[in-house]
């Protein structure tokens, strides 16, 4: 989609009173096109901030300011064990989170915080997205379903781990806005997002035509696990659902197990597999060291 079409779309939304506030404040930052086409062998430097920024400016055409913030956040994620392997590291470093937040929140795009994206929906903090994604251990080729597209950041992250991502958003204008974000990014050369198929529908019923899925991520509140989603999960598949208020969410992990006799069992646990893990206060980077706590 041409960027102008996005603008036209937004103008259309402005006419809908429910969308006025969310839309008035949302506009895509105008960053450059991606100079080097995406491929699965892209390997950003992970051990040096300057090297990473230089690499990403050259290969991805992104703003060094956000690249620096992304790398700093990445270091904290590693220290806090929010990302568990190199593929997760790579996925985090390749997703321009700044493209998925509201304009007024650009300055806090990489904060350890969930941010408002309009419509009563938040974009989860980078640590939560990283941890949830690490939990479901997405392999290349896995079919992954996301319920609750929201900002689109989660699926963008997934698109760097597998080439088959489906995502469903219940709020129509938000679904359309995020689709617009993907299309604009694809237009600028982020071809990895072509792996994302999205629709506006009630996620409760999953996406039967494309089932079964290896992994399902649910990012919206519900008082029970929707049976259709459990049915559309492959045996051995994993589902992860945040439970509780934003910020203080617990991540529920559900594993669908099939015994040799064909009986199916569903095991609930938290993502630490039953360990009590000490809370990690907000950590900050000072130079190259992780130190202290802060509350910003």
């Amino acid at each position: 989609m041409h960027p102008l079409e996005g603008l036209l779309d937004r103008r259309f939304f402005l006419m809908s009173s429910a969308a006025v506030f969310a839309e008035a404040s949302f506009s895509l930052p105008t960053f450059a096109d991606v100079p080097v086409p995406y491929n699965w062998d892209l390997a950003p430097p992970m051990d040096n901030r300057e090297a990473f920024i230089a690499w990403a400016v050259k290969n991805r055409g992104e703003d060094p300011k956000y690249l620096g913030e992304r790398f700093d956040r990445y270091r904290v994620l590693v220290a806090n064990k929010d990302v568990w392997d190199k593929r997760d590291d790579r996925a985090f470093l390749l997703v321009p989170r700044e493209e998925f937040v509201l304009k007024q929140n650009l300055g806090r795009a990489y904060d350890h915080a969930f941010l408002d994206i309009g419509y009563g929906v938040t974009i989860s903090g980078p640590h939560v997205v990283a941890r949830m994604t690490s939990t479901i251990d997405v392999k290349m080729g896995d079919k992954v379903l996301e319920i609750g597209t929201g900002s689109g950041y989660q699926s963008a992250y997934l698109a760097n781990l597998t080439d088959k991502v489906w995502t469903i958003e219940i709020i129509k204008p938000l679904a359309e806005r995020t689709r617009g974000v993907y299309d604009a990014l694809i237009g600028r050369g982020y071809s990895e997002y072509k792996a994302i198929t999205s629709k506006n529908a009630d996620g409760y019923y999953g996406w039967e035509e494309n089932a079964p899925f290896d992994k399902i991520i649910v990012t919206c509140g519900i008082d029970h696990v929707p049976p259709p989603l459990l049915q559309q999960l492959k045996p051995g598949g994993i589902m992860v659902i945040p439970v509780g208020p934003p910020g203080a969410q617990r991540l529920l992990k559900i594993v669908k197990e099939q015994a040799a006799d064909g009986t199916i069992n569903v095991a609930r646990s938290d993502i630490y597999n039953g360990r009590v893990v000490p809370f990690v206060p907000f950590t900050k980077l000072e130079g190259d060291a992780i130190s202290g706590t802060h509350n910003k």
């Binding site: 939990t135 029970h224 459990l230 597999n273 992780i290």
Partner: protein, 863 residues
């Protein structure tokens, strides 16, 4: 202002009406917050805005002479400004909504909150200036004008309650505006030129026009509902439609229909592989004050109710065939529907008359639910089930309390500090007593917390209730299951479970893949006790330096593929809790546990406030971890901000006038103490009784209105009567203080007994009896303030008169903020004891008020 001396009746009427307008505006703002965002912030903003009285008093105290010279002008201006300021501040504040959930993470939210506070402060400043100037003019007969002030405020509260039947939430502000207009008219007719009355008419017309015409023409909201309120989501569903709407004092009820609404609280995951389909379009969403949804279930054909057996509320029916069932709260009707499906007869209670009225009268709801309340196998009790079961001679085979008062989705605002009397130990004891021989009490609660909090409180409460009922050994009486991050269900059987029943229940639990927490004969291995307790403590309170500190990209400590055989910590904690509740050692476990898990009682009926107060400083750098406790934390913030602001205000006269004007006044410090005690004492009693009387009245809004109206009117009468004893106050007042203290202590100890009885009468009689109960202490509490103020005025201590009024106001705010903190920590009765102490402290301080101006020696000794 000689005009004022001519006749005082219009003045008293004006004072009464404006005082009524001020209180109506307070409640109005609290309603606006409750519906638009979050009720706790309403209390926060309003209580701080009440410091407007302190600010006004401080300014008037410093510039007393100016105010005396320009009294008529000041009164005229403040009256003309009150209405326009109320409307303007409300409209502006609605354009800068702030969002509680971003308060910590988004720096801008703090400024939005401040803007809300400053905006809502403005009309209160105008109201306070009017009242303060009149008080100053009428200082020598203060008790009469104070009567008008209190009685008017009392009626204002009552009128607002009635207005809630008439106006939609966004237009409730019209109620204070009407009171303001009438009050201003009464004043201007009697004491001002005609032109001023005409000006008032113009201002009032513009004000109302602004409220009704400006928002639509500028396309701005009169009441901005946060996108994060439950109802905001329902409104966004493409096919959603509002099928019912009604505003009453029992809440703003809305019902939405949408195919996107799905309810099956706590549904077993196994339903997915054993059921063909879940019923579609089976629910409407019920929202009260925008919070929800609670599911209203459709009248389902028998072949679509299969999924009931996968719900946790089915448990009692696993072992009870066709029982006589009592459902403690109707809510949206899910429990009642399940009960009807499995019982021979069902009795269901609902304490919210607005909910019952909706189900009984609305054609859409009646059609959708198959007119469930008219089902011949169903009786309806139209008041709290808790109160019914406390008094009924009837006995039931099953009593069900499932997920009462709680919406299925997590509320982003967090827990409110709300009295949950239905879950208190005394209520549980009553439920247990109302069981027939072999009957089962089934209580289901959300289990979405990690570390667990609410469910541990529930476990402790139910075990304690059984013990208090005289069960010598409760080991055989309980069966407990939970589902991780879903629900927990506790079954209590009168007489104990049989082996056959235990086997049936365990088989059902396995079939549902729920976790066994306790059953008679359950063996717990205490070897894990310490590691669980320590683990939770470290999970919440670990220091930063124990967190991973190096940036090694090596092997992560958390293995994604760790073995899954171990029992989850929260399940283990539940088992440990029951083990120690039954076999002893619970107090020690509770003491070591990371959160407060004392049982709920009528004196301390709170699930919220789970952070132990001494742990508060340690939690400040990890607020995100306790986001569901923000209601409680906000109370602490209110207290600290109120103390800060109040001290500042109290200090203004000290800085400007201590060595000049006040140097002539003896006994200053004791006088300050006196009015501080009255301010804090009075409001503590009022706020505490609002909570206590919910026991009998079942509804916080009604209770608040009854208390505000009753206390203020009876205190007003006390104020009026005080004039007769003014000359003998030295001898008479000690009796009053002691009388008040005796009443408060007696009420603190035994008030629950009459409230419990009052609760099962019809609502009109309940209201009347509640008024009777509060009349005696409220009447006596009306004496101290006007007696002292009259005395100050007659002794010519005019500056002290003004300042005293402000100190009283400031300490009211502090007292109000302190009530829930004292109540959650020590219990509601303790609040009354603290208030009694405040009144006893005021007794000796009263003698300082009596000291005449110029007694230097007394001044020195007191200061």
């Amino acid at each position: 202002m000689t005009a004022l001396a001519r006749t005082n009746a219009p003045l008293y009427i004006a004072v009464g009406l404006v005082a009524g307008a001020v209180i109506a505006l307070q409640i109005c703002i609290m309603r606006v917050f409750a519906i638009g965002s979050w009720a706790h912030f309403g209390s926060f903003v309003v209580s701080l805005a009440m410091l407007g009285f302190g600010l006004t008093s401080a300014i008037m105290c410093v510039a007393k002479n100016w105010f005396e010279r320009h009294a008529l002008g000041v009164i005229t201006a403040s009256l003309l400004l009150f209405g326009p300021l109320a409307v303007a501040s409300n409209l502006l504040a609605q354009q800068v909504p702030f969002n509680a959930i971003f308060l910590v993470s988004d720096p801008a939210q703090k400024w939005r909150l401040l803007a809300n506070f400053l905006l809502y402060l403005l009309p209160f400043l105008a109201g306070a200036t009017f009242l303060g100037t009149v008080f100053l003019q009428q200082a020598k007969t203060f008790n009469r004008v104070y009567f008008a002030d209190l009685a008017g405020a009392g009626f204002g509260g009552l009128i607002f309650l009635l207005a809630m039947y008439v106006f939609a939430p966004q237009d409730l502000i019209v109620a204070p505006l009407i009171l303001w207009l009438l009050g201003s008219l009464a004043f201007f007719f009697a004491y001002a030129k005609k032109q001023v009355t005409v000006l008032l008419a113009v201002v009032a017309a513009l004000t109302l026009t602004a409220h009704f015409a400006v928002p639509p023409s500028l396309n701005i909201a009169k009441l901005a509902v946060s996108d994060y309120k439950g109802v905001a989501y329902a409104r966004k569903f493409p096919d959603s439609q509002r099928v019912y709407e009604r505003d009453t004092p029992f809440g703003y009820l809305e019902v939405y229909g949408s195919s996107y609404l799905h309810f099956a609280p706590g549904l077993s995951d196994n339903a997915a592989f054993n059921l063909k389909d879940m019923p579609a379009n089976a629910y409407l969403g019920l929202y009260i004050d925008g919070e929800g949804p609670s599911g209203i279930i459709r009248d389902l054909p028998k072949d679509q109710t299969d999924y009931y057996r996968f719900l946790p509320m089915i448990y009692p029916y696993v072992v009870k065939d066709q029982p006589r069932t009592f459902v403690v709260q109707f809510g949206g009707g899910l429990s009642a529907s399940v009960a009807l499906d499995r019982s021979s007869h069902v009795t269901v209670a609902e304490g919210n008359p607005a909910v019952l009225a909706a189900f009984r009268t609305d054609p859409t709801l009646k059609a959708f639910t198959g007119d469930i309340l008219a089902n011949p196998r169903l009786d309806v009790v139209d008041y709290d089930g808790r109160l019914f079961l406390a008094h009924t001679p009837r006995r039931f085979d099953v009593i069900d309390l499932s997920l009462a008062d709680s919406a299925g989705l997590s509320s982003p605002g967090g827990f409110s500090v709300v009295e949950k009397f239905s879950y208190a130990r005394e209520s549980m004891q009553n439920y247990m007593r109302a069981l027939a021989s072999g009957g089962i009490l089934s209580v289901t609660l959300w289990n979405k917390e990690e570390p667990p909090k609410s469910i541990l409180k529930l476990y402790a409460t139910m075990a304690e209730a059984a013990k208090q009922n005289g069960e010598p050994d409760i080991a055989q009486n309980f069966f407990v299951v939970s589902s991780y991050l879903a629900t927990a269900t506790v079954l209590y059987k009168k007489g104990g479970f049989t082996d056959e029943e235990i086997a049936k229940l365990r088989a059902h639990t396995r079939a549902m893949s729920f976790d066994e927490i306790y059953y008679p004969g359950f063996v717990f291995d205490p070897a894990q006790t310490q590691s669980v307790l320590d683990g939770y403590k470290s999970q919440v309170f670990s220091e930063a330096d124990t967190a991973p500190g190096t940036v090694e990209a090596g092997e992560p400590e958390i293995e994604p593929a760790a073995p899954e055989s171990s029992v989850l910590p929260s399940t283990l904690m539940g088992r440990l809790t029951w083990h120690s509740l039954i076999h002893g050692g619970w107090p020690e476990i509770a003491n070591q546990y990371v959160f407060d898990v004392r049982p709920l009682t009528n004196d301390r009926p709170y699930f919220a406030a789970y952070i132990k107060p001494l742990d508060l400083p340690k939690i400040l750098d990890r607020l995100e971890l306790v986001q569901d406790e923000w209601g409680y934390l906000l109370l602490w913030a209110t207290l600290f901000v109120a103390i800060g602001l109040a001290s500042t205000l109290v200090l203004i006269p000290v800085i400007f006038s201590w060595r000049t004007i006040f140097s002539r006044y003896p006994g200053k410090l004791r006088t300050i103490l006196y009015f501080a005690c009255l301010g804090a004492g009075y409001i503590m009693v009022e706020v505490c009784l609002i909570a206590e009387f919910v026991l009998a009245l079942s509804n916080a809004t009604v209770s608040a209105s009854v208390m505000i109206t009753g206390m203020l009117i009876f205190s007003g009468l006390g104020s009026l009567a005080s004039e007769r004893y003014l000359d003998r106050s030295k001898i008479f007042m000690p009796r009053i203080f002691i009388g008040i203290a005796v009443f408060l202590i007696v009420y603190g100890l035994w008030l629950h007994i009459p409230l419990d009885w009052i609760g099962h009468y019809n609502y009109g009689l309940r209201l009347f009896l509640c008024f009777c109960l509060i009349a005696p202490p409220a009447f006596l509490m009306g004496f101290p303030m006007p007696t002292a103020m009259d005395t100050l005025a007659r002794l010519g201590k005019d500056h002290m008169f003004l300042w005293a009024w402000g100190i009283n106001g400031c300490f009211s705010v502090i007292g109000a903020a302190a009530v829930p903190l004292v109540a959650t920590t020590f219990g509601l009765s303790s609040v009354l004891f603290v208030a009694a102490v405040a009144y006893l402290l005021a007794l000796p301080a009263f003698y300082a008020v009596l000291l005449p101006v110029g007694e230097k020696r007394a001044a020195t000794s007191a200061a």
